[in-house]
Symmetry: C2
Subunit: 341 residues, 2 copies
Amino acid sequence: MADVARVADVSIATVSRALRGLPGVSDETRERIRRTADELSYVVSPAASGLSQRATRRVAVVVPRLDAWFQSTVLAAVEGTVRDAGVDVLVYQVDGETQRRRFFRDLPSRRKVDVVVLVALPLLAEEESRLDLLGVEVIVAGGRLRDYPHVEVDDHALARAATQHLLDLGHRRIGFVRTLDTPGAVWSSDVRRREGYADALAAAGLPPSDELVVSEPFGVRAGADGTARLLALPDPPTAVLCYSDEIAVSAFSELTRRGLSVPGDVSLVGIDGNPLAGLFAITSLQQPVAELGRAAGEMAVRLMDGEPLGAERVEMPWTLVDRGSTGPPSGGGPAVGGARG
Amino acid sequence: MADVARVADVSIATVSRALRGLPGVSDETRERIRRTADELSYVVSPAASGLSQRATRRVAVVVPRLDAWFQSTVLAAVEGTVRDAGVDVLVYQVDGETQRRRFFRDLPSRRKVDVVVLVALPLLAEEESRLDLLGVEVIVAGGRLRDYPHVEVDDHALARAATQHLLDLGHRRIGFVRTLDTPGAVWSSDVRRREGYADALAAAGLPPSDELVVSEPFGVRAGADGTARLLALPDPPTAVLCYSDEIAVSAFSELTRRGLSVPGDVSLVGIDGNPLAGLFAITSLQQPVAELGRAAGEMAVRLMDGEPLGAERVEMPWTLVDRGSTGPPSGGGPAVGGARG
DNA sequence: CCCCAACTTGGAAACGTTTGCGTGCGCTGC
DNA sequence: GCAGCGCACGCAAACGTTTCCAAGTTGGGG
């Protein structure tokens, strides 16, 4: 910057003002400075600038896994959105005991970012409270957490609608497949989807049944293995609701591998809006994931611009996309006449 | 830091030395400083530190899309690796004309990172040369580019082996499905896999056939649409080689949707090592993607530690994993007797 | 007992910005 | 023609580290 000042024959202060579009610089001078900066291909040092302004123009996106569709899609959307505002994105992958312990011990994002965006991150109770020590703003995407501003869908209503859809078709034994993280760690979407599922069953007068809810370690086989466990039950379900579309696709592969027809033998429903589910014609409860990420990114930018968000809650719409992976239960009666709620 | 110095009753300089483990501080003093820093939950300001040391302890990972398995897997591995060295990861998604134009105009990572890792990023010729202006070290993952140090598999040999596998089974019409990016933009893996495919065919005495190589826009439907185009040919292929496992899975969905059997009617081979291919029993040429990302991360750390890498080239091994999605051509003869090379 | 080496510590100048404050200038309005 | 005002610009003090250099202390060897 000193170079630019010298060449343009002005003071450093003027260069700073000119390049940042602040008032107090004549158009002529500003233009000249712009040109010289360009010729010298000068860019401000974010370190020095940040030191002065005590702001980083950076956000952290914290996810348990990057190789999960929901998280990478949200990350992509956040990145694209904040990039427009000249904000950079730092990623933190916090998976498993070791990494999460380290993350919450060191709080590595302290002093490095202005805003932290938490995406689908299951948390222990004590970890939740440590978030306050981060010393930065927190935004939650795809869930809710304490009083932090968030953007999500109504996971409870969504899961309930999915379950109801199956109930309406006449299903009475409906399985639920989810993945599990560190024992004890909790993420709101997971809890609320399970509750929505359970509430729909209860409203239909069906007793809760633990054996119908299976949890598998995260991975591409989660849906397949979970489905296998459900099918091994003495009285296996006639329909399966999956926590995510990825799980549903995996479940689908297991069903067809066994020669079972979907929805002839087993009905299948996924959640998320993952286009992969479309490939295999799996009925899915869709949430606008990219828009959700974009909204989170916009909130982050507003926060960095000094706008207080308070406990802003954004709720996105969801829709049931029927692709034909659901039908009446195989051995059961016709679709009509199912006990409705 | 001034606070810590005051409380611990030492100078700022000593605090700096103590916390960074530099020699010249007595054990007793160091321990006292460590404790006070801890009590005050003090962390150094990366901005100030970076300003002084003219290093950022950050790497940028540049990818065309975050929601592609290969890229997110590499990103995850890089992140995990450099995190251990206290290095942060900045992501840049550079997809489409607009974003890439902006990226190469502003070179937003200048002064923000010490190392840039390019992952599967198709580049125009003039963009390649602009990379020098970044002013930071460049590492290439999953491909090669100019003289930059890189880590990759031998894409040519891999694709050739895949094609040879199909030739050995007796196939003579073998399609290739890939995705395309900005016209004119080139990524080495794409080029080299196509060459490996073409060379295997040529070595088997088969004439090149443009119609057998189809390009689709990136997306979950790429494989399905590409396969549909291949099947619509007057003389459709009996086997399809896909640039990635994601494409192969998509192709698989299209084949089964049409009631075609794999490998009964059409043989299918993917590339990458995406576990999703395993779900659908798709034969795949696997590369150790996570290890590849880890290696790239380690190279980045070494670079930041001042170790010159030169034009270091790391080549990872690949393997053919036969999951049964390949077999002799439907109307064709037995598997044996195929012209070998 | 003195000198010197080794070690611990502190002072202060960078690093490259931003920004409050002050100065000089030309212009307007009377 | 003059007081006063606004504008364009420069000076210099932060911001929070790192690091070179010097100073002080301690202990050991001659």
